[in-house]
């Protein structure tokens, strides 16, 4: 979708708030949200559906609320959509906080959590029967248009000419994974020159690399 999340190349967001501090959390609620997001996932959820739910946040909230707050809002939305809770529950949460309705799942220790993190090295690739359509070094052109659902071809790289830098294998296709449908499609690292992407970069030696699926690409026969 051409949503507020698709920020590459947009202008007017001001200078970077530069920070070399390596503290992971700056408020207790940020840490709680991080831990929550690792602990509670609705059945059948995919990373792409979760990302799409974050993209669907109202633009003023997406830009105006702190980062981990947008995670919380995304989690609320996925939990409500999955039937884990209702909008009405949120209004009376402090009233239900007096006693647990159900026994909690067993507590995981630090060592168990570290082991779980290691086992969360999820792979998204698979062998497929088809051969890759494009070869390393081949010129390609990206699709000119997006669609209303989730996609990983940013607006700034649409209708642009690039060069296949590497084939990363067949990866889960995000546009369908966001609907809970898993198919694998070749995903390539594609190199774009800065001056192909930006008028003001004329003559620049700089490059931008994106990882793009076969559906986003066509051979450039020009």
């Amino acid at each position: 979708m051409d949503g507020i999340h698709d920020l590459g190349g947009k202008q007017g967001y001001g200078p970077i708030e530069v920070d070399t501090d390596e503290t992971p959390f700056h408020h207790d609620w940020e840490a709680r949200e991080w831990g929550l997001a690792q602990s509670a996932r609705t059945p059948g959820i995919t990373i792409d559906w979760w990302r799409h739910c974050r993209e669907l946040i109202a633009p003023e909230d997406y830009l105006g609320r702190p980062y981990f707050d947008s995670w919380a809002q995304t989690d609320f939305a996925t939990y409500i959509e999955a039937g884990w809770m209702t909008l009405e529950d949120i209004g009376r949460f402090d009233a239900v906080g007096v006693g647990a309705e159900d026994d909690p799942p067993p507590a995981l220790s630090l060592q168990q959590v570290l082991q779980e993190d290691h086992s969360h090295a999820f792979r998204f690739d698979a062998e497929i029967e088809a051969d890759p359509l494009f070869a390393v070094g081949q010129e390609v052109i990206t699709a000119s248009h997006g669609h209303a659902g989730h996609t990983r071809l940013p607006q700034y790289a649409r209708g642009r000419r690039g060069t296949i830098q590497a084939c990363n294998g067949a990866h889960v296709f995000p546009d369908l994974s966001a609907s809970g449908i898993e198919i694998h499609q070749y995903c390539y690292s594609v190199m774009f020159t800065a001056d192909e992407l930006w008028a003001e970069a004329s003559g620049s030696r700089d490059k931008v690399f994106l990882d793009l699926w076969e559906s986003y690409l066509a051979g450039d026969n020009e």
Partner: protein, 212 residues
């Protein structure tokens, strides 16, 4: 093929959440945790353990160890550039969001910079939680369009004859920048070298590391 999920419903939920959530971030997250705990869906001690894991155990010190080892051990560096997930797993660091890790190397002629313009993809199990600026609109919008301007704000000046390569993390691949070893530091121990590697240098917003 019909969707298992209802995007229209979620868009509507977000409109309600805009006005129905508690007024402050801390209260919103508290509401979420309370509801999940009450329904027996989450154990608060497990949340504590995740917070501890990403505060004390998993963070940029892991990435710094990988970089220092690559500086000291040419064979390790070769493995890291060829198959980064396997190379970081030699140190036990494979984990969340690093199964498709790629390492990109800075040289005298090349500087690498990593961004995620569409969300905030980051190699969690070796760099921990991403810094606030990495997740903010200013960095996400500008890194692909004005990388030299962004770098200048971090105090990094890139000579005209150096090529800047920006990696936009649009898929499940994640990127770790291998910075250059500071001049004169080659003989330091691996342990001492880890202290010289900044988190930002592994994202690409720091370049010229110094021997302290």
């Amino acid at each position: 093929m019909s969707s298992k999920f209802d995007a229209g419903k979620v868009a509507e939920i977000h409109q309600h959440l805009h006005s129905h959530l508690p007024s402050e971030s801390a209260l919103r997250v508290k509401a979420l945790e309370t509801l999940l705990v009450d329904r027996g869906l989450v154990n608060p001690q497990t949340i504590d353990a995740w917070v501890e894991a990403y505060t004390d155990q998993i963070g940029p010190k892991r990435g710094a160890r990988v970089v220092a080892r690559a500086w000291k051990d040419a064979e390790y560096k070769k493995r890291l550039l060829q198959d980064a997930p396997a190379a970081i797993d030699e140190l036990g660091y494979l984990g969340k969001a690093t199964a498709h890790l790629k390492v990109v190397e800075n040289t005298d002629q090349v500087h690498n910079l990593v961004v995620c313009t569409l969300c905030s993809c980051y190699p969690f199990s070796i760099l921990g939680v991403a810094p606030a600026w990495y997740k903010a609109a200013a960095y996400r919008s500008r890194a692909v369009r004005d990388p030299r301007g962004v770098l200048a704000e971090f105090g990094v000046t890139i000579d005209d004859d150096i090529e800047v390569r920006v990696w936009d993390s649009t898929a499940e691949l994640r990127y770790l920048v291998l910075p250059q070893c500071p001049p004169g530091a080659e003989d330091m121990s691996e342990d001492a070298l880890t202290e010289l590697v900044s988190r930002n240098s592994m994202i690409g917003t720091d370049r010229n590391l110094v021997k302290s």
